[in-house]
Amino acid sequence: TSQKKKTYIVHMAKSEMPTSYTEHSNWYDSCLKSVSNSAEMLYTYNNVIHGFSTRLTPDEAESLQTQPGILSVLPEVKYELH
């Protein structure tokens, strides 16, 4: 149960993108694949954050947090109408 996948929002430091990448989305994808072969991006965010959302196990999320260029890996939060 502890390794059940959850949605995370991954904040990237765009300025730290290695020069070998020309598209930040490719860099995001590469970072994600480094911790999970099966994970797919739900959204890529370009304006309000630099980063993406994806489904990861807690271990994968922890591992991703240690990768260079990752600012934070935050679990998804449910909001409610007021």
């Binding site: 949605t7 929002i9 959204y43 939060v77 449910k78 909001y79």
Partner: protein
């Protein structure tokens, strides 16, 4: 909405507000449950072409086609990947995988902000009038991020990301989550970028009142809106067998109760369940309630569901009694059976009668719509309250606006109660919440944006706050319905919005994106946390940052009570503010009032500011000299600058913990 334009004074002051060209260039983005495009409130009659800068789209799906959008509803998108990733594929037999609003909430909020005028709008004849949004000529773009199972942050961020890119000018979010640091809160994160791009973000304060520390959406770059009442009511009268009569409220429309008194029973005595008094599903004994009026206690399940439970059990009617959690606040509902809501005190009196009479009887008489109710506004009991639990030095909510019994557009997919068993369909519905007050401010912000296109989001908020009122014409402070006593800045912020005054505030407290970065430094955020919000590298300087230096239009002064045996001397706290002249040259003089002059001394230096030109900036310092007070003590005050024509007011809240 009906009545709120009159209540806010924007119906008789149309000439003061911007002409069509500037206002129709303003786009309000609403993140919510989507829109019902067939609503008359989305009629685009008289609107010109969509602004050329607009990059948004009308996303097509099987129940939402290109003609669903027009020159009023200029954008409609939906974001469900986060929702579906967590809860599985959307069941399209229950909700539309499209921007279409199956809930009603999104149609209500978006039409409140910017709906076109619709004559003869009402809910079953209640609240009859011309329904219009606050900014009738502004455009609307909806971003559906909320679904039957809730609103997920991955979708909210995606909606904000797109809205910013599309080119909205105002963002309206009537939703909230738990309290968390700004760098963890998706709404705060998205709002930061929006603010940087000149977009005002208006959010609901939450419905977790009247308890303190109950606010959502408290980031200082967000405009946080609490809720107050209108001067309108929907009275119903409860008559008891002992001859006593009580006032209540209801939106019931249908076959009335018989003229004669009916048998009357307390739900708690008509159930074998320990919580039978709440009229939860399946808890009432039909043989004990059949043909009777049932008294249910408010709480746990939806108010309208209690009515449905009574109806299912064969009850003839329902009286819904508030408990201590709601006090005397009366929220009207379009119940499925003759039903009405009463305050706690009335509920207690009615219960006394039921328990003392072996054969209690009652009836309910419905009396339609009444306007001119005084005092109004009063702060709604449900409206979330300060202090701000994330940054106590920033006073929240910022202000209050109408949020109780608001009529606005509704979805054709659901009845006015939202219950599955409610097969009625209405074009307009009457509901309550800070969800309803938020889009009022969003629409009013659009009016200000059109009138002052060069104003920053902080300037617009400042104008709304410093011109808000916190007293009635009698001079008495706005009341809090939860207590029946005067409300405080922790309840109403700067006060109730006054859009006509906000058009010409005289002075404003402006805040730039860099100022907010300094604020984050003062919070001792790490570079990564700041970068998450600002999306760029920013290194805090070695200089001393202070949260209290943020040029906010209000003052919150949190103090720590000294422990016994410690130094019992007074403490001195200084706040610096800068005012920008947006009016004519003039000299402003300061005045102060405080509820606790013995424990707090407040001084302002200088006490006079002379502005010789537009956009001139002048600073002042407020010094709070306070004595130690017991933990939990609060003191309140108000600081006003006036040139004789304008009054630029700021609330003060001092708290000891």
């Amino acid at each position: 909405t009906t009545r709120t334009p009159e209540f806010l004074g924007i119906d008789k002051n149309e000439g003061l507000f911007p002409e069509s060209d500037s206002l129709s260039d303003v786009v309000i983005g609403v993140l919510d449950t989507g829109a019902w495009p067939e609503s008359k409130s989305f009629d685009d009659l008289g609107l010109g072409p969509v602004p050329s800068s607009w990059k948004g789209e009308c996303e097509i799906s099987k129940d939402f086609n290109s003609s669903s959008c027009n020159k009023k509803l200029i954008g409609a998108r939906f974001f469900s990947k986060g929702y579906e990733a967590t809860l599985g594929p959307i069941d399209e037999s229950k909700e539309s995988k499209s921007p279409r609003d199956d809930d009603g909430h999104g149609t209500h909020t978006s039409t409140t902000a910017a709906g076109s005028a619709v004559d003869g709008a009402s809910l079953f004849g209640y609240a009859l009038g011309t329904a219009r949004g606050m900014a009738t000529r502004a455009r609307v773009a909806v971003y559906k991020v909320c679904w039957l199972g809730g609103c997920f942050s991955a979708d909210i961020l995606a909606g904000m990301d797109k809205a910013v890119d599309d080119g909205v000018n105002v963002l309206s979010l009537s939703l909230g989550g738990g309290v968390s640091d700004y760098y963890r809160d998706s709404v705060a994160i998205g709002a930061f970028t929006a603010m940087e791009r000149g977009i005002l973000v208006s959010c609901s304060a939450g419905n977790a009142g009247p308890g303190s520390d109950s606010l959502s959406n408290v980031a200082p770059w967000i405009t946080t809106v609490g809720a107050g009442t209108l001067d309108r009511d929907f009275p119903a009268y409860v008559s008891l067998g002992n001859g006593k009569n009580f006032s209540s409220v209801s939106l019931y429309s249908g076959k009335p109760l018989p003229d004669s008194l009916q048998s009357f029973v307390y739900a708690g005595n008509a159930s074998t369940a320990s919580n039978g008094n709440l009229c939860m599903m399946g808890t009432l004994s039909p043989e004990k309630v059949a043909g009777k009026i049932v008294l249910c206690d408010r709480g746990i399940n939806a108010r309208v569901q209690k009515g449905a439970v009574v109806k299912d059990a064969g009850g003839a009617g329902m009286i819904l009694a508030n408990t201590a959690a709601n006090g005397e606040e009366l929220v009207a509902d379009a119940h499925l059976l003759p039903a009405t809501g009463v305050g706690q005190k009335t509920g207690d009196l009615i219960k006394s009668y039921i328990f003392s009479d072996p054969n209690p009887t009652a009836t309910i008489i419905f009396a339609g719509t009444k306007v001119g109710i005084q005092p109004s506004p009063v702060v709604a009991a449900f409206s979330s309250r300060g202090p701000n639990s994330i940054t106590p030095e920033i006073l929240k909510p910022d202000l209050i606006a109408p949020g109780v019994n608001i009529l606005a557009g509704w979805s054709g997919a659901v009845g006015p109660t939202g219950l599955a068993v409610d097969t009625r369909r209405v074009g307009f519905n009457i509901i309550s919440g800070t969800s309803m007050s938020c889009p009022h401010v969003s629409g009013l912000a659009a009016l200000l944006k059109a009138a002052h296109p060069d104003w920053s989001p902080a300037a617009i908020r400042s104008a709304l706050m410093t011109t808000a009122y916190n007293t009635y014409k009698s001079g008495q402070n706005i009341l809090d319905i939860a207590t029946g006593k005067p409300s405080t800045p922790f309840d109403h912020g700067a006060g109730h919005v006054d859009p006509v005054s906000a058009l010409d505030p005289g002075l404003i407290y402006d805040i730039t994106a860099d100022d907010y970065l300094d604020f984050l430094c003062a919070l001792k955020y790490t570079p990564a946390q700041i970068s998450s919000l600002a999306k760029r590298n920013f290194t805090c300087d070695t200089k001393k940052y202070s949260v209290t230096d943020l040029n906010y239009p209000s003052f919150a002064v949190p103090l720590v009570t000294e422990q016994s045996g410690g130094d019992s001397g007074s403490s001195v706290v200084r706040y610096t503010r800068t005012l920008t002249n947006v009016g004519t040259p003039g000299t402003y003089k300061v005045s102060l009032s405080s509820s606790a002059s013995e424990s707090v001394k407040i001084s302002v230096e200088p006490d006079s500011l002379s502005f010789s030109k537009v956009n001139e900036k002048l600073s002042y310092t407020v010094t709070f000299t306070t004595s130690s007070m017991p933990s939990g003590t609060n003191a309140f005050g108000r600081l006003e600058w006036s040139d004789g024509k304008h009054v630029v007011g700021s609330p003060i809240a001092i708290s000891w913990s």
